[in-house]
């Protein structure tokens, strides 16, 4: 009944906005169809992964989107749970983005599995509570359910109930995030993932990307909807920009730690991987992606705009998102490139293993990104039509 009342009479109209959605959805389907093909023929035949490098490109969008969702939920909590008034105008969009980013992350990891159809059966029938992956998958699935209920409650203007679901969602997604880094950290056989600062690093990165996404997608939504933002929204963006700047300084510290590790082995547990990242083959990626795009450029733009120019803030946001995507790619790949038996003087063993993402992996990643974009656009269309939260 409530739904029917809220739905606008122009619900079934098809305009340029709907056309944009269709285009994005088609690109997404094309990309994801490569995943279906990979599932049919087996990953060994179409992925760049190998016995030595079992985790490839697809883990990066999973980590990226899951952490992004965590960050969005954390920023959401500022307005919805902690009642900081300035963040309240962006609650609806942030909650929706948090949900669709998690859905995108789980989509990526599902396609990355060789036998995804076994997950629902054996995750329930043969669970392994000592495994971080089991916890992570369970927690993220629960998070999605809580976030759906949060959104529905927001839609029905039941703020109290929405707040309860938001609290539960925040706790679950934080636990999931900490299991995400533990999942990697316990792989002690490989370099790179057991650095002591990992939990703090993951939470900082997550919140940072959450802020970046809000800055970017609020600006995009205003253009998309041909709306000018309200003063309250502007204030929310300014507050987000301040938080964003603070977190960028945090990331600057962690990036500095990485650089120190790359140049001075005594500052890291994984000197070989850090050297490869900071000074060797991955150095251009690192300096352009992790240093300039993720930290320096966004920090410069935020400082120049003083949190007022929404266009510059949006550029800072996208720059940071692209930079952190590279960061997650390095986090997944570089540690695996150190040969298992590198200290054994093995004849013909390369100094580093090599990995290049295949066309299938790239297309699936593109498909996942467009899935997220299509979902975002669909959300904007639907929420406007059903008069969401107003």
């Amino acid at each position: 009944m409530i739904l029917e009342k809220k739905i606008d009479s122009k619900f079934l109209t098809f305009g340029p906005q709907e056309m944009i959605f269709v285009v994005l959805a088609i690109i997404s389907v094309i990309g994801l169809s490569f995943g279906a093909h990979a599932l049919l023929v087996g990953h060994d035949n179409v992925f760049g992964t190998s016995r030595e490098i079992p985790w490839g490109l697809l883990i990066s969008p999973y980590v990226f989107f899951a952490c992004l969702s965590t960050g969005l939920c954390i920023v959401l909590s500022l307005g919805q749970i902690f009642n900081i008034k300035v963040f309240k105008p962006i609650i609806n969009r942030t909650a929706f983005l948090s949900l669709v980013t998690m859905a995108t992350g789980l989509l990526c990891i599902t396609i990355e599995l060789e036998n995804p159809w076994r997950v629902p059966f054996f995750a329930l029938l043969s669970p392994h509570p000592a495994s971080n992956i089991w916890w992570k998958t369970t927690i993220y699935s629960l998070f999605m359910i809580f976030m759906v209920f949060n959104l529905l409650s927001l839609f029905m203007k039941n703020e109290k109930r929405a707040r309860i679901f938001s609290i539960i969602a925040l706790i679950t997604v934080t636990l999931g995030n900490l299991n995400m880094n533990s999942d990697m950290a316990i792989l002690g056989g490989r370099g790179f993932w057991s650095e002591n600062y990992m939990p703090l690093y993951f939470l900082t990165l997550s919140t940072l990307t959450g802020c970046a996404a809000i800055l970017l997608f609020t600006w995009v939504a205003n253009i998309f909807n041909k709306e000018t933002s309200t003063e309250a929204e502007d204030n929310a963006l300014r507050a987000t920009a301040r938080l964003f700047m603070f977190l960028l300084f945090g990331l600057l510290y962690f990036t500095g730690m990485k650089i120190m590790g790359g140049f001075y082995p005594e500052f890291t547990k994984n000197p070989e991987a850090m050297y490869l990242l900071v000074q060797d083959d991955f150095a251009p990626n690192f300096w352009i992606g992790e240093v300039i795009l993720a930290v320096i450029l966004p920090l410069f733009l935020v400082l120049v705009s003083r949190g007022r120019n929404k266009g510059l803030l949006a550029i800072a946001g996208i720059s940071c998102l692209v930079g952190t995507f590279t960061l997650y790619y390095h986090l997944v790949i570089v540690g695996q490139l150190i040969p298992h038996y590198f200290q054994f003087n093995v004849v013909d063993l390369p100094q580093f293993y090599s990995y290049t993402p295949s066309l299938h992996e790239i297309m699936i990643t593109v498909g996942a990104i467009f899935f997220f974009l299509a979902a975002f656009v669909l959300g904007e269309i639907l929420f406007k039509k059903i008069n969401f939260g107003k």
């Binding site: 043969s126 998958t137 636990l175 900490l178 056989g189 038996y341």
Partner: protein
Amino acid sequence: MNLNSKEDLEEDRMKVNKEDSMKIEDLKKLSNEGIENIPSVERRQFMQFGLAITGVFLGGTVLSLTSAKNVESAVSGGKILDGDYPYNPHYTMVIREKHCIDCEKCLDACRSTNNVSLHGYRTDILERSVPKAPGERERIFMPILCNHCNRPPCVRVCPTRATFKDKINGIVRMDITKCIGCKTCMAACPYNARFFDEEIRAIDKCNFCYDTRLKESNGKITACAAACPANVRVFGDLTNPETPAYKLIHSSGKVFWVLRPELNSMPNVFYVEK
């Protein structure tokens, strides 16, 4: 005589003290060597200590629902054998490294006995070039396989218990019907002992020929050990002092080692020279 000798001793002591003081003066003139020459483990522990003081250290497990002991063991040295064998029989393989001539009969035997896919392998032989003396290197062949660790990182990470440690004999085995193909066990294995077999759509790995030979022959010997002409691979039970494998690593003065002990995974494949 006694007095003389006492005086002599006193004189000697004075000399030594003088020399010592000279040395300290000399030492003071030397420049600081820095921390570059401290062994890496000590350096890392020092850094960890520093991070703990500055509050950056969070142990890798804050609010995480499982612990990360393996991470810490990576910087703490690690155990090889604690003399306690939790399984009965407790299967092991002792590799007599310098006997290996790389004939690869073990690899063929493994492949044919266990129907190992051509896309991968359960065991391999690495060729090492080890410094022996200045300007001289020694060629050594090092067979590798699953180490059937007592604390297997691969088992720990599996979300569906598709890979598990046999509660009776300690063999790390696979239940291929439960494998979801996440390949986390492959990423976790420090020995590169696992591969994804597209034919069975699951991880494949050495199981000490559990399903193909051990069950039938009541735990006698694996295919690779049976095929080896130089008796490089000695398969046995660590709870039975009569087995050659037990004797090889329990004989007095015998040096044995495991691969990557710093990970504290407590492997059950041991290496001896001969």
